[in-house]
């Protein structure tokens, strides 16, 4: 069903293509765009998120500088319409919303009052796909890599850890957010729709995922610690189980256990995860007291 709705939106987007919705700085100024960025940066989307229209209030807050410029001389009725238009349901990811704000501003600037459905259609068409990109690249991959580099230093008690993590994550995050507003405005909707752009985005996601998975493998080896303390007495000689396992492959148990937990997620809903943590703490403690784990 969603596919069909998407197709309707896609068609509307294609119709808009003919009108060349690119920002031209005719009415909107660069300082308006800067203001939009700062509002997104300071107020975000989640502060005012509700269950029905989700992040709509946050979006309206961020795009207000553009509306103020475009509707400076408009009558109350038009302004009410403009505000209500941007209070329609919106749900995306913070970083990626920079670009949606830029493109929406460009379309607001270039459309007449009776073409405003285009604004709603473009917003609705972009928020899902861009949220997907935002989540997979920023929230998951870059955050995980920055976090694990930081944690490597922090676990040794080195203050460089949090500083490195903060710099890596925020430099990329803030640059994309700000650049998104400007580029979205200047290049318009074609920026997203052209096949080239989609290919570049796909490439970024692919590289981010590959790097993420390789680093993940390294993290399992470095940070999951499971050592067996049991020793088997065979005649006079004592065989340590851990040594036996290490001869097969070092860190074999951490790898197997992590993969086991990963497979467990297929059958166990994510909301029980916190009980999984308690469970591991409890069973791990019992095994450690019994001397099976060291």
């Amino acid at each position: 069903m969603n596919k069909k709705e998407d197709k309707v939106i896609e068609k509307e987007l294609k119709d808009n293509k003919n009108t060349q919705n690119k920002g031209t700085y005719q009415k909107i100024t660069r300082s308006d765009l800067n203001k939009i960025y700062w509002r997104l940066q300071i107020f975000g989307l989640g502060l005012t998120a509700t269950n029905d229209n989700m992040q709509a209030i946050g979006f309206l807050t961020a795009i207000t500088p553009a509306l103020k410029r475009l509707y400076a001389k408009a009558d109350v009725k038009t302004r009410v319409k403009a505000m209500q238009r941007h209070l329609a349901m919106f749900l995306s990811q913070n970083t990626a919303t920079g670009m949606i704000l830029g493109i929406t501003t460009a379309i607001e600037e270039t459309t007449n009052e009776d073409e405003k459905e285009a604004v709603v259609a473009v917003k609705a068409g972009m928020m899902g796909p861009l949220a997907g990109i935002g989540d997979s690249v920023f929230k998951i991959t870059i955050q995980a890599i920055a976090g694990s580099i930081g944690a490597a230093y922090a676990l040794k008690g080195n203050f460089l850890g949090p500083i490195l993590m903060f710099l890596i994550y925020n430099a990329i995050n803030i640059f994309i957010k700000y650049y998104g507003v400007i580029a979205g405005y200047e290049k318009g909707i074609q920026y997203i729709q052209s096949g080239e752009q989609a290919k570049v985005l796909q490439k970024i996601i692919n590289i981010a995922t590959m790097v993420g998975v390789i680093v993940l493998g390294s993290l399992i080896a470095q940070y999951v610690k499971i050592n067996v303390g049991t020793a088997i007495k065979a005649g006079k000689s004592v065989i340590k189980v851990q040594k036996l396992l290490d001869n097969i492959m070092p860190k074999l148990l951490p790898l197997l256990f992590t993969i086991f937990l990963y497979k467990l997620q297929d059958v166990m809903p994510r909301k029980y995860m916190i009980w999984l943590i308690f469970g591991i703490l409890a069973i791990g403690t019992v095994l450690a007291v019994a001397g099976i784990l060291v």
Partner: protein, 277 residues
């Protein structure tokens, strides 16, 4: 812990709470925890506990439709417990911190569900402001929202941090030493949980060789995260280049064999739609 320290920690919790929904620059245990160590005067413990929590909760925080355990108050309380219980950066101290952090994170999770309910009130308010046509009016909601978000975590953090000391000390005094050290061993398994969650978000069947590559780089070659990341980055870029070359070669072949078969393409599109339904 003095009143002043508890107050400073509560203010930090309030700021982090605002940051979590607004600028989104901190959010993670490793960025939230160290400042608590600075306030309480034990940086090393704060760094180690925050680092452990960071790994444990690695994939957490982006699950649609369900409120995740709260990492912010969890981290702040966990670090405070580790430092003030006098155990410091020992395995037992870290384990006590991790256990406290997890417990508090679950409790605060319930509080955040209540916060969603309160935020719902912003919606009729916003509709009312929209009817006035006053663009600046929407700012009022944001200011109220920032204050609400600040207090939402500042107040519970103050209460827990200020009153936890006696309670946690008593609990730790009762628990036998070998159980505490066992808890320390168990806590070192926990990063597996965060990494497994992360795997559910990134893994595809074709990516297993990549996972093994990273694993081998660190087990046998003993490389740290930074060198592994750099190797992974160059490896992935090279891999993408190779795939591109292969794709263009394939495209050229299919163009040669598929010329004049556009009708077939149309019918296959219709098939796709049926599958979607």
């Amino acid at each position: 812990m003095s009143f002043m320290q508890a107050l400073l920690i509560a203010l930090w919790a309030g700021y982090c709470s605002y940051d979590d929904e607004g600028p989104q620059m901190l959010r993670r245990p490793l960025l939230v925890g160290p400042l608590v160590g600075l306030i309480l005067g034990d940086m090393k413990t704060a760094l180690i506990v925050s680092g452990t929590l960071e790994l444990m909760w690695m994939g957490l925080g982006n699950m649609a439709g369900y409120q995740t355990p709260d990492m912010i108050v969890g981290t702040i309380v966990g670090v405070s417990v580790s430092i003030t219980s006098g155990t410091g950066a020992t395995p037992q101290g870290i384990a006590a911190g991790v256990a406290a952090a997890t417990t508090v994170a679950v409790l605060v999770q319930q509080l955040l569900l209540f916060a969603r309910f309160v935020r719902q009130l912003f919606e009729p308010w916003a509709d009312k402001i929209a009817l006035t046509g006053n663009f600046d009016g929407i700012m009022k909601i944001n200011i109220v929202a920032v204050i609400f978000q600040f207090l939402l975590r500042a107040i519970p953090t103050f209460l827990v941090v200020f009153f936890q000391k006696g309670v946690v000390d008593k609990i730790l005094a009762v628990i036998p030493k070998n159980i505490l050290s066992g808890l320390g061993v168990a806590a070192s398994i926990l990063p597996a949980v965060g990494l497994a969650i992360l795997m559910t978000m990134m893994m595809k069947p074709s990516l297993w060789p990549f996972l093994i590559l990273g694993f081998v780089l660190s087990t046998y070659l003993k490389l740290g995260v930074l060198p592994v990341t750099l190797i992974a980055l160059s490896f992935s870029v090279i891999y993408m280049f190779l795939m591109e070359i292969m794709d263009t070669q394939k495209e050229q072949q299919t163009i040669k064999s598929n010329t004049g078969q556009s009708d077939n393409n149309n019918s296959s599109d219709e098939d796709d739609e049926e599958y979607d339904l």
